[in-house]
Symmetry: C2
Subunit: 239 residues, 2 copies
C-alpha cells in the first residue's frame, strides 16, 4: 500500500529501463540477440505482452531491431547506417555521397566553459577531433568534434580513428548515439576557413553546431562543422 502513495511507474517502463541499462553498459553488445519476449517477461515477472510493448518502444527509438521469426537484436551502428542518419548531405539528385577523410588530428585539452555547460558530466578535460572530409566535386566539410575524456578513456592511443565516429563510439565504448540536435546558420568563408577547406575566400558555407546524445540521453559529443556545399544540399525531414 505504501507503494501506491508515490507515483508508480508502469511495468513496461521498468522493462524498457532495464534493457536500456544492459545495452548502455555493454552487457548486451552491438548485434547481440536479446531474450525473447516470453523469456524477458518471465525474467522480470511480467507477461509476454508487456515485454513486447517495451521492445516495440525500443525499436521505435532505434536501439534494437526486430524480425518476425528471428528475434530482437541490438542495433549495429554500421558506417552506412550512421552516415544515412547523421550525415545529411545529399547530391542534388538525392544521391548519398561517399565522404573521404582527408586529414585528421586529435588532441587532449581542458574543456571550455561552454563545453562544460553542454556536455554530460561537466568534464574538466576533453578530446578534440579535427577532421577534413571531401565530397565528390569541390565540396568540403571541416569538422571539430569534442568529447569528454572520462567517457572515452584512451582515445588518443586509438588513432587514427575511422571515418564514421559514431560506429567507433559504439564498438569501442558501447556508446550508442541515437539523437542529435543541430543548429544551422549560413556564413561566408573568411581567409582562415577558406584555407582549411581549400576553397576560395568569400565562398558561401554552412555552419552546423551539433550536440549528440546517447541511449541514456546524455550529451556525449559537441561538434562544429563548416560545410562548403555547391553540389550538395543538406537534407532534413520535419514532423
Amino acid at each position: 500500500m505504501a507503494d501506491d502513495v508515490i507515483s508508480k511507474t508502469p511495468l513496461y517502463r521498468v522493462v524498457i529501463d532495464t534493457v536500456v541499462a544492459r545495452i548502455a553498459s555493454g552487457e548486451l553488445p552491438p548485434g547481440a540477440m536479446l531474450p525473447s519476449e516470453v523469456q524477458l517477461g518471465a525474467e522480470l515477472g511480467v507477461s509476454q505482452g508487456t515485454a513486447r510493448k517495451a521492445l516495440m518502444e525500443l525499436e521505435a527509438r532505434g536501439l534494437v531491431q526486430r524480425a518476425q521469426g528471428r528475434g530482437t537484436f541490438v542495433t549495429i551502428q554500421t558506417p552506412d547506417r550512421a552516415l544515412f542518419n547523421f550525415f545529411r548531405l545529399r547530391g542534388k539528385d538525392g544521391a548519398r555521397p561517399a565522404p573521404v577523410l582527408e586529414r585528421q588530428e586529435i588532441l587532449g585539452r581542458a574543456a571550455t566553459k561552454e563545453e562544460k555547460r553542454v556536455l554530460y558530466g561537466a568534464p574538466a578535460r576533453v578530446f578534440e577531433i579535427k577532421r577534413l572530409r571531401s565530397l565528390p566535386g569541390e565540396d568540403r566539410v571541416h569538422e571539430v568534434a569534442v568529447v569528454p575524456q572520462g567517457m572515452f578513456p584512451g582515445l588518443l592511443e586509438r588513432a587514427p580513428l575511422p571515418n564514421t565516429l559514431y560506429v567507433f563510439y559504439q564498438q569501442a565504448y558501447s556508446c550508442i548515439v541515437v539523437r542529435a540536435d543541430e543548429r544551422l546558420s549560413p556564413g561566408i568563408a573568411d581567409a582562415e576557413m577558406a584555407e582549411r577547406l581549400g576553397v576560395a575566400e568569400g565562398s558561401a558555407v554552412m555552419r552546423v553546431d551539433r550536440v549528440a546524445y546517447d541511449a541514456l540521453d546524455r550529451a556525449v559529443e559537441r561538434r562544429v562543422s563548416v560545410i562548403h556545399a555547391r553540389d550538395h544540399v543538406y537534407d532534413v525531414t520535419l514532423k
Copy 2:
C-alpha cells in the same frame, strides 16, 4: 477461403485507414472528438485493443491527440503548433521568434514542369503565394509557396491569408500538413534578393527548398525560402 488467397491486411490497419479517411474528408474536423476505443471497435467489428492500437499509431503520426480520462481528438493546427513544428528558426538562446508578415502577394498561373513533377496530381495550374516576413533584429525571410489550384479552390478570394499558412490549409480545406522534406543550402544574396529582403548585397543567406505532405502523404505544397539570419539559427533534430 477465397479471401485467404489475396494478401490480407491486418485489422488495425483497416481501422487506421478508416479514421484517416474521415479526418482527411473533413467528416472529423479539427478539434472533433473521435469515438472512444470501445465505440470505434464495436462500429468496425474489432476489439477495443485493436482500435486502441490504431489510435496509438495515429497519435504517433501527429494526426490525433489523446488524453487519459478525456478522449481522442483531431489535432488542431494552432499557429503556435504550426510555427513550432514547421518554422525552425530560433534565437541563439533557443527562444522562438514571432515572425511578422510584412508583404504578401498571391497569383494564379500555370505550373512549371518541375512543379507538375513534384506536386500531387501533377496540377496544370497553381497558386503562388509570395511573402516577406521579418524577425526581431534585421533578419528577414522571403518565401514563395506554390499549391495546386485543384486542392485549394477559391484561394484568391480568401486573401489576405493569415501568417501561418498550414493553419489556414486545415481550417479552410481540411488539409493537414503532417510532414515536410527540406533541402538546405548556403548562399550569398545577389542584388535582386538583397533588395527583396532589405539587406546588404553579398550577405550570407540560407536557401530552403521544402515539399510539404498531408495526412494521405500527398505533396500539397512546394515552398522556397531565402533566409537572412544573423541573429537566428535553423534548428533541427536528427534521429
